[in-house]
Structures are given as structure tokens and as C-alpha cells.
Amino acid sequence: MTLFFQQVLNGLISGAVYALFALGFTLIFGVQKVLNLAHAGVFMAGAFIGYYLVSIGLPFWLAAIFAMLGAGLVSVLVDLLALRQLRTRRNAEFAAIVATIGVDFVLISIAQILSKTQVYRFPFDTFPAVFFTFGGLRISLLQIVIVVTVVTLVLAMMYYLKWTTYGRQVRAVASNDRAAKLLGINPNLIYTQTFFIAGALAGMAGVLIGLSFNSIHFMMGQPYMLYAFVIVVLGGLGSVPGALAAGLIIGVIRTLGIAYFPAGMADIVIFLLLFVILLVKPSGLAGSAAVNAGGRR
């Protein structure tokens, strides 16, 4: 039984990172109604930046912060290069999917060329391997740091969206960008902001994942993109609290799936789950299909 609870705990922690990744994705969808498939590339870019900075000797925490900023900038670039032109067009839904797939692929190719298709690992002593035991459950220092980081970032983002003027502007643009424009808000600025925040979250997720699995490679984003699909669909596309809850749920399901099913089965189960949700309740946990950036509180 302890083993089971241990698995649930591990699942919750990895679920927190999935949620961090999916939050940015769902935020962009909520504000811009665009499926940003390049989010996986941004995540991977974050992990790469983190790795390069650690390997030139920066302390890990500093590298992680720079990776966040760097991934945020990459994400803004995605917006500028692929999506800004499309925004003036009607029915740009599909065009945006195509454009972001294209950018994602460019990012992947760049990483592949830079890394020469190798798998990078953080140096052995990047993070101290310390373990604590609580009532039979083992938890590593890294896991604690992950939880604290994720909780801090999510709270900061919630605060930003709900209480600051900028957050109110973001929500105004999300619900109606033309009305927001009439009120003197520059939607392009808001889009840049959301892309930066989403990218920064993805970048941190990339560093954390890269460190906890100790493997950084050019294709690392793809599976997380697909988990993010399941998470945002389960949580309701565009809903921030929904993505958070769904991220934890998917994390637990996946960890239990890996523990109790034959290898490779867990992913199949999760993707089948996606189909079931799409069939039964496409609007997800959060309820209505009309969702907005701040989520429904």
C-alpha cells in the first residue's frame, strides 16, 4: 500500500510539471483562440538554454531563471514570426495550427543541429541528491523544489491575471479584443505578454523535466505536447484552474499506468482517455465551452 501512495505522490509531482507546461498552452488558447503547437519547441528551448548555462558554470537556480526568460523570448518570437500576420485574417484557426507546427519544426531542427542529435545530461553535481522520508514515503529535495517552484509560479500567474491592471487587460482582450481596443488597450502588447508568460512557464517546466529525468534532447517536447492536449481538453480549453487540476490527474494516471501496466501501455491509455473525453464531454471539467483566459472563478 505504501508503494501505491508513493506512486501517487510521484504522480502528483510530475503532474505539477505537466500542469506548468499546459498552463501556458491553455493561456494562449484562452487569450488568442490559437492552438500554439510550437509550445513544445519553446519547452525544449528552455531545457536547452538551462543546460548550456549550467554547462558554462552558472549555478543551477540562476540558469533556471535565465532559461525561463530565454524561453519567454523564444515564445514571443513564435508569436511575432508565425502568428502576428495571421491575426488580421478571418478564420485563421487552421492557418495558425499550420504556422505553429512549422515553427515548432524549425525549433526542433535547430536543436537537432546544435546538439548533433545527442542526448544531453546535466552534470552529476548540478543538484544535490538528498532524500527525506515522511511516514514511509520518500521524497527527494529535487521533488520538493519542483513543487515549491510550480506552486510559486502558478500563484504568481493567478495573482497577475486576477489582481493587476495588466491581468485585467489580458482578460479584456481575451473576452473581446475589439472592445478592448476601443478602451485603449493595445492587443498586440497583450499577446506579446501572454506569449512571454506562457513561454517562461514552459521554459521552467523544460528545465525541471530535463533535470528530473536527466535527459535533454531535441524531441523532448513532443510527448509533453500530447499530454498537454489531454490536460487542456480534460480541464477545458482555455481554463487555467481546469488545466491545473487536470495536470495533477494526468500525472497520477500516468505514473500509476507505468507502475502497473506493461511498458508503453500508459501512453496509449492516456491518449485513449483523450478520445473518451472528447466524445463524452468535449468542454472538459471546467464546464462550458466558452472559456476565457482568467478561467472561471
Binding site: F29, L35, L81, A82, Q85, L86, R89, E93, F94, A95, I97, V98, A99, I101, G102, V103, D104, F105, V106, I108, S109, I110, Q112, I113, Q222, L226, F229, V230, V233, L237, P262, A263, G264, M265, D267, I268, F271, L272, L274, F275, L278, L279, P282
Partner: protein, 301 residues
């Protein structure tokens, strides 16, 4: 010509196959379905042929027929959940489908030989077969364009509500497009494995999705020549500029962004639209010759 074909034989074959996959991708887009499931269908078809031939010594043509059947059935089954979804949700669902198929091919070790893939499939299909296959597909698309089916697809893509008021069953026609896409994708998957000796699961992942999409977006999502043109450009470009070959995936990515941004209807559709415009203008002029300036300034006749 023959010399060229023998020199660039492999590239030419791959172009012919890529064009087939592009058609499988195009038909769903044409009916307004945001599907990127072609990679999944191709994987099913390629594996069906590979397994039947290497394990059960079935004749290649029977294998191809079975592959096409498998694709048809997969398309039919997948169209049921897809009919309830729209827009981005369709894209998500089909991308998940592709990923499920890739994971299945890795997972079902006993049948598919897992990550190692299946090798030493007899090479039965050569350039002539592929040319014939492409001609058949072209005829099929020509026929679709000439009949009510093509018009139904077009009206659904442009405006579902208008389609419904005209009595076009959106569900039925989108399912039809999906079944065609499945059959075509799987058949070409089969041809691919008969042409290249081997299949492995990684072949039909994200890169495949991008390549098929790139060909259609570049060529044009509506015109029947679009996929051929798109696939041809994508195959020829790296050959023309050798240094580009190394960056081929990146080239696909960049092209996707540039084309969708600056030439949203692709090459073939843009040419067709320009010709249409020209024709309309000419006909208008025939009907009502331009009025001399002096007369029009004079006001009422």
C-alpha cells in the same frame, strides 16, 4: 528523361509516394475537416502490408488490398467521434490518433517487431507502378471535383450552415472525406513499404505529419493539382541546392510558416484563382464593353 529517372530514381519514387500522402491529407482539408491523421493511416497500411508479406507470405497485391481495407475501416471508425468535433478539437483528436498508432506500433512488439521495425519486405513496387497509382488518384480527384461530391465538400468547407440549408449532410460528407483519406493514406503506406524494403514506427510520427501538411499547404488545399505541385517542389528543392538537403526538415518548417502567411491558398489554388479572375473580367467586358469616358460623364442615356 529515362536517364534522369534512373539517376534520381529513388527521389522520384519518394516524390510519387509523397504526392499520394498529400492527396490523403488534402481530401479532408477540402471537406473542411481539420484532420492530420494521414500519418496514422499510412502507418496502419504500411504495417498491414509488411506483416502480411513477411509473416504470412500473402501476395503483395492482396496485401495492398487488405491495407486499403484497413485504412477504410480506420477512417470510418475515426469519423464517428470526429463528426461531433470541430476546429481545433479535430486537430487535437487526429494528432492523438497519430500518436496512439505510433505508440501501438512500438508497444505491440510481438506483431510489429517494436522499435526495430520490419525489414526485408520484397521490393515489388517500382516507378511505373507508382506512376500508374498517381494517375488513378488524379483521375479520382478529377472525378470528385466534377461531381456533386466536390461541390458538397467545397460548400461545407466554406460555410457549414450554408451547406446544411442546401441539404448537404455535413456529417455524411465529412465521414466520406475521412474514409477516402484513410483508404488513400493506407494504400500509399502499403506502397511505401513495398517500395522501400522496411518500415519502422518512428517513420510515421511528427515529421511525417509536417511533410504531408507542408505539401498540401504549399501546393494548395483545394485544387486537384495542389498536392502534386507541393510534393514536387518539396522533393526538388533539396536536390537543386545540395546544402539545403541537410536542413530539409527545417526547410519544411520555414516553408509552412511563410506559405501560410503570405500565400495562404498555396501555389495551385492561387494560380487557379488568378485565372478565374481573369476569365470573369474578360467575360464581363464581353457582356458590357467598357463605356467611353465622355459618355459616362454625360450621365443618363
Amino acid at each position: 528523361m529515362m536517364e534522369l529517372i534512373s539517376r534520381y530514381g529513388a527521389t522520384f519514387d519518394l516524390f510519387l509516394i509523397a504526392a499520394g500522402f498529400a492527396y490523403s491529407q488534402q481530401i479532408v482539408l477540402r471537406a473542411g475537416v481539420f484532420s492530420i491523421a494521414t500519418a496514422g493511416f499510412a502507418s496502419l497500411g504500411a504495417y498491414a502490408v509488411a506483416i502480411l508479406l513477411t509473416r504470412y507470405q500473402v501476395s503483395p497485391w492482396a496485401g495492398l488490398a487488405v491495407a486499403t481495407m484497413v485504412g477504410t475501416i480506420a477512417g470510418l471508425l475515426l469519423s464517428i467521434p470526429l463528426a461531433r468535433l470541430r476546429g481545433v478539437y479535430q486537430a487535437i483528436a487526429t494528432l492523438a490518433f497519430v500518436e496512439i498508432i505510433v505508440s501501438l506500433m512500438y508497444f505491440a512488439d510481438g506483431i510489429t517487431n517494436g522499435a526495430a521495425g520490419i525489414h526485408s519486405i520484397p521490393k515489388v513496387v517500382g516507378t511505373p507502378h507508382l506512376i500508374v497509382a498517381l494517375c488513378v488518384v488524379l483521375y479520382l480527384f478529377h472525378a470528385i471535383g466534377r461531381t456533386g461530391m466536390g461541390r458538397a465538400f467545397d460548400v461545407i468547407r466554406q460555410d457549414e450552415t450554408v451547406g446544411l440549408t442546401l441539404g448537404v449532410s455535413v456529417t455524411r460528407y465529412q465521414a466520406l472525406a475521412f474514409v477516402l483519406s484513410g483508404a488513400l493514406g493506407a494504400a500509399y503506406g502499403g506502397l511505401l513499404s513495398l517500395n522501400t524494403y522496411s518500415v519502422d514506427p518512428g517513420q510515421f510520427g511528427f515529421e511525417f505529419v509536417v511533410a504531408a501538411l507542408a505539401a498540401v499547404v504549399l501546393g494548395g488545399p483545394r485544387n486537384m493539382w495542389g498536392p502534386v505541385i507541393g510534393a514536387a517542389v518539396l522533393s526538388v528543392l533539396p536536390e537543386l541546392a545540395r546544402p539545403l538537403a541537410e536542413y530539409r526538415p527545417m526547410l519544411h518548417g520555414v516553408l509552412l510558416v511563410v506559405i501560410i502567411t503570405f500565400l495562404p491558398h498555396g501555389i495551385a489554388d492561387s494560380i487557379a484563382a488568378a485565372r478565374q479572375n481573369h476569365r470573369v473580367r474578360r467575360d464581363l467586358e464581353k457582356l458590357a464593353p467598357p463605356v467611353p469616358a465622355s459618355v459616362s460623364a454625360g450621365g443618363a442615356k
